[in-house]
């Protein structure tokens, strides 16, 4: 049994055959395509063009990991584009592991991982992602997108502040859809059998981030443009999205308990480039529907929430049930407390885990409604201020979270 991530454990025979004669390479862009999406050809093209333009003297290739890609004629791309179907069922985590393991097998010193559904991906982004790894300043590069305050609210109000409080590092994107890794980082990744809990959904990407945050790895953020996903790439079921992303973060908390329990406070991650622009809100946000979802949860899900949250947390939620959409507020400290209660209940398996994570949905929608009403008035600086408040609220909850996490 190998003690490191090996290509034989994650690629099928077709993928292994495709790698023969391809290496050694210096740079790899692995496009993650577990399912077919419309934006895949454009992402492959952008990745290939990015490698060819930004690193013309370096031997590079685009690997399409997953069953979602069609074959491309030889010579149609500026760099080789190779399909590497992973072994086993078409799961997102398998595709990511296949891309990382194949890149390591080919001897690449820098690997970019790009989601095939990231429709706004352009060649310049690949340069920005790979450059810090190529010049040796980063082991893990994570994007920062130009976003409207109403975009990425699960990241900005839950994933990022919880990761900040738990792991002590302030990253803006937790599941950014693209990232870059150094050979030093991929060399240390554990073998394939150690990832079996993470193969479905975003678990592998979450764990890669936490490996970087908890290990002695240089983490760098690079500003990119606006993030747009192919509508066919993302699920429309919010509770499923939430269960996938939040469950992945909670699982890392179980796996890396010793690394985070005694940490207090947080430090920013090194950023390479100017901070991204704040975009104006796009489209109407139906806060009334979100508040109604919260009220419905308070009415019908209370027996479930009572198994998750202690009385003192619930007592802080009851008054929110009386607020109309126009005056609805969900203070950041209460929200941080709620999320930490859910994390502890998840750890203690008080409910079937999928039920528990999905039961968070109405609370999350309530928090989003409050956040949107908080930041839609006032100057743009108000957004950063509000997000900082959320981050500090989660940090304030950290000692209690550590004490309850047994």
């Amino acid at each position: 049994m190998a003690d490191r991530l090996g290509v034989e454990d994650v690629l099928g025979p077709e993928g292994l055959a495709a790698l023969e004669g391809l290496g050694p390479l210096e740079l790899v862009a692995a496009v993650i395509a577990p399912r077919p999406v419309r934006s895949l050809p454009a992402v492959i093209e952008a990745a290939g063009a990015g490698l060819a333009c930004a690193f013309p003297a370096r031997k590079a290739a685009v690997l399409v990991a997953g069953g979602g890609g069609e074959g491309r004629p030889p010579g149609a791309d500026p760099v080789p584009v190779v399909r590497i179907p992973p072994a086993g069922p078409a799961l997102r985590g398998r595709a990511v592991l296949a891309g990382v393991a194949a890149s390591r097998h080919l001897g690449a010193r820098a690997t970019a991982i790009v989601d095939a559904g990231l429709a706004s991906f352009v060649p310049e982004w690949l340069d920005r992602l790979l450059a810090p790894v190529v010049d040796g300043t980063a082991d893990y590069v994570t994007p920062v997108y130009a976003r409207a305050p109403t975009e990425g609210t699960l990241t900005s109000n839950l994933l990022a502040p919880l990761a900040r409080a738990v792991y002590g590092r302030r990253v803006h994107e937790v599941l950014g859809g693209c990232l870059a890794l150094s050979a030093g980082f991929t060399e240390k990744l554990p073998p394939a059998e150690d990832w079996t809990d993470e193969l479905d959904g975003h678990g592998v990407e979450m764990r890669l981030l936490v490996e970087a945050l908890t290990g002695a790895h240089a983490v760098v953020e690079v500003p990119l443009g606006p993030k747009q996903l192919d509508p066919g790439a993302a699920t429309t079921d919010l509770s499923r999205t939430l269960a996938d992303a939040v469950g992945a973060l909670f699982r890392t908390m179980e796996r890396y308990t010793l690394a985070w329990q005694d940490l207090l406070g947080s430090a920013p991650v090194l950023r390479r480039g100017a901070p991204p622009d704040l975009l104006p809100p796009g489209g109407e946000v139906r806060r009334d529907r979100m508040v109604r979802a919260f009220h419905l949860g308070l009415k019908d899900l209370l027996p479930v929430w009572e198994q998750v949250m202690p009385d003192d947390t619930l007592r802080q939620l009851y008054p929110l049930g009386l607020l109309e959409p126009d005056e609805f507020r969900f203070p950041a400290p209460v929200w941080a407390r709620v999320v930490c209660d859910f994390a502890v209940a998840y750890h203690e398996r008080r409910l079937p885990r999928d039920h528990l994570l999905r039961a968070l949905t109405p609370l999350y929608l309530g928090r989003v409604a409050a956040f949107v009403s908080e930041v839609q008035v006032g100057p743009p600086a108000r957004v950063a201020e509000a997000l900082e408040q959320v981050g500090r609220a989660f940090e304030a909850e950290k000692p209690s979270l550590s004490a309850r996490w047994r």
């Binding site: 975009e151 919010l238 509770s239 999205t241 139906r286 979802a293 019908d300 999905r358």
Partner: protein, 233 residues
């Protein structure tokens, strides 16, 4: 005439005395057996509780997640206490049945053998009920969470319907296993279940056709609106 009258009285008194002499020791023996059964049952319960406590059964069940399954099923008692209670009632029941046998009364003969023959069926029926209870709680919880997340009004009612449906099915299976009026249980269950399904079909097909259409349209519209207005990750 006088002699006959005396004979009848003496015969009756003699018969009663004979019957009392027959019944009294058996009654005393039965009461003694009940008392012994109770004492042994208490002793077995205490011994089992201590042994299982020393083996840290509660802790092991908590760590393995078994305790959580019981809590989710609405059972707050610890596994050690549950095993103790089950052993108590099993031993005490054997004592009661033995006492019935000791009475040697018509109708009680073979009670112990009959009861022992029923034990496997009772165990299966209890397991079916426990499994049905846990499944009912699980499905009801899944239903209420899914319904609230889909913003369906009356989520609790929907969940309660699912819970009772599963419990009724489990009860019907358990009664069938016990052989209690098997045909009647099957017939009653079939009529009730079929009737409920037919009523729902008629309600949606005729009475609430418009309502069902509006609910479906509203759900699809909401999904579209959510997809357009906000991105979460």
């Amino acid at each position: 005439m006088q002699q006959t009258w005396m004979e009848i009285i003496l015969t009756a008194v003699h018969d009663v005395g004979r019957r009392l002499a027959y019944v009294t020791p058996r009654l005393l023996a039965a009461l003694t057996l009940v008392a012994i059964g109770w004492v042994v049952a208490v002793a077995v319960r205490r011994l089992a509780t201590r042994l299982l406590g020393a083996a840290d059964l509660d802790g092991r069940c908590r760590r393995s997640g078994l305790s959580m399954i019981l809590v989710r099923g609405g059972i707050r008692t610890g596994p050690t206490e549950i095993v103790g209670r089950v052993l108590f009632w099993a031993v005490f029941l054997i004592g009661l049945l033995t006492a019935l046998e000791a009475l040697e009364m018509p109708g009680t003969a073979g009670a112990l053998a009959g009861a022992l023959a029923l034990v496997p069926h009772v165990v299966v029926a209890i397991l079916v009920l426990i499994g049905g209870w846990i499944l009912a709680q699980f499905l009801a919880q899944a239903t209420v969470i899914a319904a609230v997340n889909a913003q369906v009004a009356g989520a609790s009612l929907l969940a309660a319907s699912v819970r009772w449906m599963v419990l009724i099915v489990a009860a019907a299976i358990a009664l069938t296993e016990l052989g209690v009026a098997r045909e009647m249980v099957l017939l009653t269950f079939g009529i009730a279940f079929g009737g409920a399904v037919l009523a729902l079909a008629l309600a949606f097909g005729l009475g609430a056709r418009e309502l069902a259409r509006e609910a479906l349209e509203g759900y699809l519209r909401r999904a579209r609106e959510e997809g357009e207005s906000i991105s979460h990750v």
